[in-house]
């Protein structure tokens, strides 16, 4: 029972941590993009301001229960996925509520958020939202394939479906999986590009084409919820990748460095690339990434 209490406490702390770090990353990303475009750009804490403003805005209306629940769904999703992802290596406080087989569980939880969001966006009755949702779901089906292949490769290779085991294995081997089984890492990384929905995969919420797609009817607190949950989710995903491929982290500083390094990948890839159409995106994910995933599986089976 004690451990459960601990882990719940850990969850709360890591929640706050995730919120702050995620928000900061978002702000930094805006700053970096601005610098790349030769602008000064907003301060790195701009996202906090935006969040506060959105929270302070009045939220007068909703289009029905599902619309109201939509943001809550993704918030819940990101919180749940954060809860079962261990933040640090073997620390009693930060291992959170992970358990055996949490990898498969994660697969489902991470796909659950978009669905809940889709329900919410659906009830607003805004055609743009529906279109955005269809695009989002299609892209999700696209990048799930290499992602699943990578995960399965890991399971085969290390014969476990628990994140902690994989972290320990890396700690014992003293060698990160991104080096010991590179194909897996490549497949997973390419899948991550889609997961973060940065350009070139940002057709889902194309601001001028779809009026920001699924969230076009959501202002004020709804938007605040989405924003914060997306930042939490980003941190959760980054942490998961660090745990799986980069040997986890022993303390928060290392964690932040690693996650930021990882975060740069989709960000920088996005700033220099145009936008894919949906079917192009899906085909992209079923092309090289899935090929690498297949290689990863074969590698894991035969070596």
């Amino acid at each position: 029972m004690e451990s459960l209490l601990y882990s719940i406490l850990g969850v709360l702390v890591s929640l706050i941590l995730a919120f702050t770090v995620g928000m900061t990353y978002m702000g930094l990303s805006r700053k970096i993009t601005a610098r790349i475009q030769n602008r000064i750009g907003p301060p790195f804490y701009q996202n906090f301001i935006d969040a506060m403003k959105l929270y302070s805005k009045s939220t007068g209306i909703h289009h029905g229960v599902m619309h109201h629940l939509g943001p809550a769904f993704i918030m819940v999703t990101s919180v749940m996925s954060l809860m079962i992802i261990p933040i640090l290596n073997d620390s009693a406080f930060f291992t959170n509520m992970n358990f055996h087989g949490d990898l498969i569980f994660l697969l489902y939880i991470m796909t659950f958020g978009p669905l809940g969001m889709a329900l919410g966006a659906g009830q607003t009755g805004n055609p743009n939202s529906a279109i955005g949702v269809t695009r989002g779901l299609s892209q999700m089906v696209g990048f799930e394939i290499p992602w699943v292949m990578a995960i399965i490769a890991l399971m085969i290779r290390y014969d476990t479906s628990s994140i902690v085991d994989i972290m320990n294995i890396q700690a014992d081997a003293g060698r990160w999986i991104m080096f010991s089984s590179p194909f897996t890492f490549i497949a997973a990384l390419l899948a991550m590009l889609g997961m973060f929905r940065y350009s070139p995969f940002d057709i889902v919420g194309a601001p001028t084409e779809l009026a920001s797609g699924p969230m076009s009817e959501n202002g004020g607190k709804y938007l605040f919820t989405m924003m914060s949950s997306s930042s939490i989710f980003a941190f959760a995903k980054l942490t998961l990748y660090v745990n799986l491929f980069m040997g986890g982290a022993d303390n928060l500083l290392v964690l932040i460095i690693k996650t930021f390094a990882l975060y740069m990948v989709p960000l920088l890839y996005g700033t220099v690339s145009p936008r894919y159409r949906t079917e192009q995106a899906v085909r992209y994910f079923w092309g090289w990434p899935s090929f690498f995933g297949l290689l990863a599986i074969l590698y894991a089976v035969f070596f």
Binding site: I156, S161, S216
Partner: protein
């Protein structure tokens, strides 16, 4: 008199009486209908217990009726879904004509399914199988739409399957000189290798047709979508499970006795996975809810077939668990479509929109079963799928896992299409008049939704009977029970539960849901779906803003190469070829006396020429 016989008599008499009663008065017919089914159900669960046997001899064949744990398990599907669908169909079929005909065939359907489950010998198995086929056929053509096409296609494929099965049975009889299943299992090992290979293949063809396995599934979409929804729930929920039941028997009793390297398991498992993937893609492409659900049933059965075919303890456990769950949620979904059809008059996803506030209970049922279908915790589908993945990975079917995971992820697409099409989206004036469906239709759905939730959180309720059934099938539980092989479950005293951690997570999940919404919801106010940010425009009353036409077009463009051609096309090709051949052969009979006389002479000549070859 033996209680099994009593059940059959109840069914038969009930069917006839219902038919006559319906002729006399509507109420009498419906009440007799319900009475029959519930009486039989009660009789079955109160009086019949596993192990009592009724054996008799007919036409020189020793036959035997009895109940085994595994068939008892499937009888849960048949009778549970059957009785619920019966209750549902009372008001769903109101003001339809030929009700007596419908009720009769409905009862015959349940009767034949129970017969299949209860028969311990191949001949009565086959007889009940055929009764099931024609009774369901009669309901498929009940509404009389495109009878020649859909109906004949269904019956043709069923007949192909059935006759493959009959051939197998006849060969078995000639080998074993008995049609009892246990004799077959006992003496199967003594067959020659050719028989060992071909008999299971023939049997699996028979069962594969009903279970909608890949190349034989083409009848399913038409048949499911053309029969009235009240029956479709039974059709896709229970009737297709008979194929699964047969497969379970074959795989657990016969295939275990033939050498592994023949790869029958692998082939069937791959077929199942392909069925799942392709079925899902086609489901996404559909615009009619019935067709969508039909294809999704094909896909879901694909998972089950894969699980059965892989056939390790865990896989079989997962398959049977999924079979029961599929009966629950797919039955519910078909009922939902039926309710919507009754209230709006159409099942076209591109026409109906925004029913969520008109039919809230129906929506809740739909949502629950969709979540279960998509395999999202905490509902039951998640448990089944998890076990399936685990089993597949544990038995080194990695590519299958990817295929199946792809199917279930792409499944979200049609799940969303279903929910969005009917319930979400713009609330058009056209459907302003729609009311919630009558209680007798809503209650069964809700019961099933609750069941789904219960099974999702306390899967032990279902796992224990499956456990017993599988031990009867000859699976030796390597350590204790099969679910102990899954990392998912923990045992707490007597109850098998998901990992406690899952509970904690789900609890926090619900907490967040309440916390985030309940308070803020009061502060906000509902505005109609016309009041949206459409670039400053004020949409008019009848201005249709809903986005429906080719909904998943981008995705479908991406998968275009796979879906260029349906399997139907090839069958049509073969069919046309046959017709042409027959047409040619027909011309032998010219209808001309002289020609016939010449035939006679030619025949004589041929006989005279060949007489040394023909006759010693």
């Amino acid at each position: 008199m033996n209680s099994i016989v009593i059940i059959f008599l109840i069914f038969l008499a009930g069917a006839v009486l219902t038919y006559i009663g319906q002729r006399l008065s509507n109420i009498l017919g419906s009440s007799l209908f319900l009475l029959t089914i519930f009486a039989a159900t009660a009789q079955f669960y109160l009086r019949v217990n596993t192990g009592d046997i009724f054996s008799f001899s007919l036409n020189g064949l020793e036959m035997e009726w009895g109940i085994t744990p595994i068939s008892w398990l499937f009888s849960l599907i048949v009778l549970g879904l059957g009785s619920m669908a019966a209750v549902y169909s009372i008001s769903a079929m109101k003001a339809k004509e030929r009700l007596g005909y419908f009720y009769f065939n409905f009862i015959m359907g349940i009767f034949s399914m129970m017969g299949i489950l209860l028969s311990r010998d191949l001949v009565s198995f086959f007889i009940f199988w055929e009764i099931m086929t024609w009774s369901s056929y009669m309901i498929v053509i009940y509404e009389g739409r495109s009878v020649q096409k859909v109906g004949i296609k269904y019956f043709l494929f069923s007949a192909i399957g059935a006759y493959a099965m009959l051939m197998a049975i006849v060969i078995i009889y000639s080998q074993v000189h008995s049609v009892l299943i246990e004799d077959l299992v006992y003496s199967f090992s003594s067959f020659t290798l050719a028989y060992k290979i071909w008999l299971p293949i023939l049997l699996l063809t028979g069962f594969g047709v009903k279970a909608g396995m890949m190349p034989l599934h083409v009848w399913a979409p038409g048949a499911y979508s053309h029969s009235p929804m009240a029956y479709s729930s039974l059709f896709s929920g229970a009737l297709s499970k008979m194929g699964v039941y047969g497969m379970v028997l074959v795989f657990s009793m016969l295939i275990t006795q033939i050498p592994e390297h023949l790869l029958i398991r692998e082939v069937i498992a791959w077929l199942g996975a392909l069925t799942a993937a392709i079925g899902t893609l086609w489901a996404i492409a559909q615009d009619d809810a019935k067709k969508l659900l039909a294809y999704s049933s094909v896909a879901q059965l694909g998972y089950i077939i894969t699980g059965v075919a892989v056939g390790t303890e865990l896989a079989m456990l997962a398959a049977i668990f999924l079979a029961v769950l599929h009966a629950l949620f797919k039955g519910t979904l078909f009922m939902v479509v039926g309710a919507i059809e009754k209230q709006t008059g159409t099942t076209n996803l591109t026409e109906v929109t925004g029913l969520i506030r008109k039919m809230p209970w129906t929506f809740i049922a739909a949502l629950m079963s969709i979540i279960a279908l998509a395999g999202i915790p905490p509902l039951g589908g998640f448990v089944g799928k998890w076990m399936l993945y685990e089993a597949l990975i544990a038995s080194d079917h990695y590519i299958l896992v990817v295929l199946i995971f792809f199917a279930s992820t792409a499944g979200f697409l049609y799940c969303y299409k279903f929910l969005f099409g009917f319930f979400l989206g713009q609330e058009e004036k056209e459907w302003a008049h729609v009311k919630e469906a009558p209680a007798t239709m809503v209650v069964p759905m809700l019961i099933f939704s609750v069941l789904l939730f219960v099974l999702g959180t306390f899967p032990g309720l279902l796992l224990k009977p499956i456990d017993i059934g599988m031990q009867e099938l000859g699976y030796a539980a390597s350590e204790g029970h099969y679910w102990t092989m899954s990392v998912l479950f923990n045992e707490y005293g007597n109850a098998i539960m998901l990992q406690p951690i899952l509970y904690a997570i789900i609890a926090i999940f619900l907490f967040f849901l309440v916390f985030l919404t309940a308070k803020a919801f009061k502060g906000t106010r509902y505005v109609s779906t016309k009041d949206i940010s459409s670039s400053g425009e004020v949409p008019g009353e009848f201005e249709n803003l809903s986005f429906k036409e080719n909904f998943f077009q981008p995705f479908l463009r991406a998968v275009e190469p796979v879906m260029k051609r349906q399997i139907d096309w090839y069958y049509t090709l073969v069919g046309n070829g046959m017709e042409a051949l027959f047409n040619f052969v027909r011309r032998v009979y010219t209808g001309n006396g002289q020609t016939y006389a010449i035939y006679a002479i030619v025949f004589l000549v041929i006989l005279l020429l060949l007489k040394s070859n023909l006759f010693g």
